[in-house]
Symmetry: C2
């Protein structure tokens, strides 16, 4: 009897805790869901290039971007893009003359600067060239795993891989070292901005460099990049693969 008399209030208390926890979780979830709906739409507009030029992640979406970048979303999106790139690559007939090419951007495409952006607000802070250059010099950015897997498959299929980056010539050593560190090897050429490319919009600079490849006789079948400025312009590849990047925009 005494035991059941003690059990009763405990059970009532437990029920109360369980129900109030459920209710408060529901309220938090509801407000989170509403923010997420907007931030999801903001990301849609960013990734489809509807936003055009943008500076920072909206303040209301910073934790959304953090969750996306560090959770399943970013990894999964990158994997699915890579799977479509590979499916296309497998349909390409490799001529065997060494002219079948694939172009990769570097930052947020082959290499992930997530360890840097974790410490710099996931794109919510103004870009700080000084601290980013220091990070580049460390040459310790990990590979974007899906891109590394794709890269290896493309090499196996017989593609010649070109890396076309907005980084500058003075960063050649650090960039090459970092690419090796991350597991890349046997690329055909690493193309960086020369002094004559300084100040050019990325779309123009990258188009000109692709045109040089085309003029050398390369057939650019695929092009992978996290910015539309990696993919648009002239001398474009047969198929372009836009990787996700809700952290920053390069015109």
């Amino acid at each position: 009897m005494a035991k059941s008399q003690l059990l009763l209030p405990s059970l009532v208390l437990l029920l109360f805790i369980l129900i109030s926890k459920t209710i408060s979780q529901s309220i938090i979830q509801l407000s989170r869901d509403r923010d997420d709906v907007y931030c999801n739409s903001w990301r849609f507009s960013v990734e489809t290039n509807d936003v055009g030029y943008w500076d920072y992640v909206p303040s209301g979406c910073v934790s959304y971007v953090q969750d996306y970048m560090t959770g399943d979303g970013y990894r999964s999106d990158s994997e699915v893009v890579a799977s479509y790139a590979l499916a296309f690559a497998k349909t390409v007939e490799i001529a065997g003359d060494g002219k079948d090419a694939w172009v990769f951007d570097v930052d947020e495409t082959l290499l992930s600067n997530l360890p840097y952006y974790v410490l710099h607000g996931f794109g919510s802070e103004p870009f700080d060239e000084l601290s980013f250059d220091k990070w580049v010099d460390l040459a310790e950015a990990p590979a974007l795993q899906a891109s590394l897997d794709l890269y290896k498959e493309l090499k196996q299929l017989g593609f010649n891989v070109f890396m076309l980056t907005g980084r500058s010539e003075y960063q050649r050593n650090a960039t090459g070292k970092n690419l090796l560190f991350a597991g890349y090897s046997d690329w055909e050429r690493l193309i960086l901005r020369e002094s004559s490319d300084k100040g050019k919009p990325a779309t123009l600079y990258k188009s000109q460099k692709r045109l040089e490849l085309v003029n050398e006789g390369y057939r650019i079948h695929g092009n992978s990049g996290d910015q539309w400025s990696d993919l648009f312009g002239f001398a474009v590849s047969r198929r372009s693969f836009k990787l996700p990047n809700p952290m920053y925009y390069i015109p």
Copy 2:
């Protein structure tokens, strides 16, 4: 005493029900979340044009697409795209010579065929021209609300609006009637496929029609469409606005 003796087993039962419901909900949620992560990534690849040509919504993503199209996601994405289109439109200096133009696609841009697709599997079934033509003849497709709002604002700002659709000339009456029914009015021109356009890829057909406008002296500032084939090609607008559409792909 007797009362509390009855209360005790009831409370234990209630607790048991509550806990087992929570657990089973968690398991369902977990598997749903996993599917959603993939389908979200599939939608990312579709909307960024990474997939290229695709026939149907993957069978594992049909209910995901249904939820997206009938829930907050589609409405919110359309609204955010429209907000960026309007923000850009407001930066355009209207010359007052009647040559400042905006081009809209019709299906899934100005008009929503969702009532049709609700009955036809949300893009999971092969396209059935016969039943779709019957639906077109009804001329009862509602407006995509965000596009209607944008349309009215653009008219206010002084843009001349062109509607450029993949529909054919024989559907001119039904299409015009439907646009009026949905709330659109005072468009400059409704452009449909003539017999000479039959069989042309949408990108070519729409580029040629835009080029005709450019040759008539129109300045195409903005272009809104749910397909990349509405936006790519030549004689492209200064800014393009890709609306969401995870139900079908038009090359």
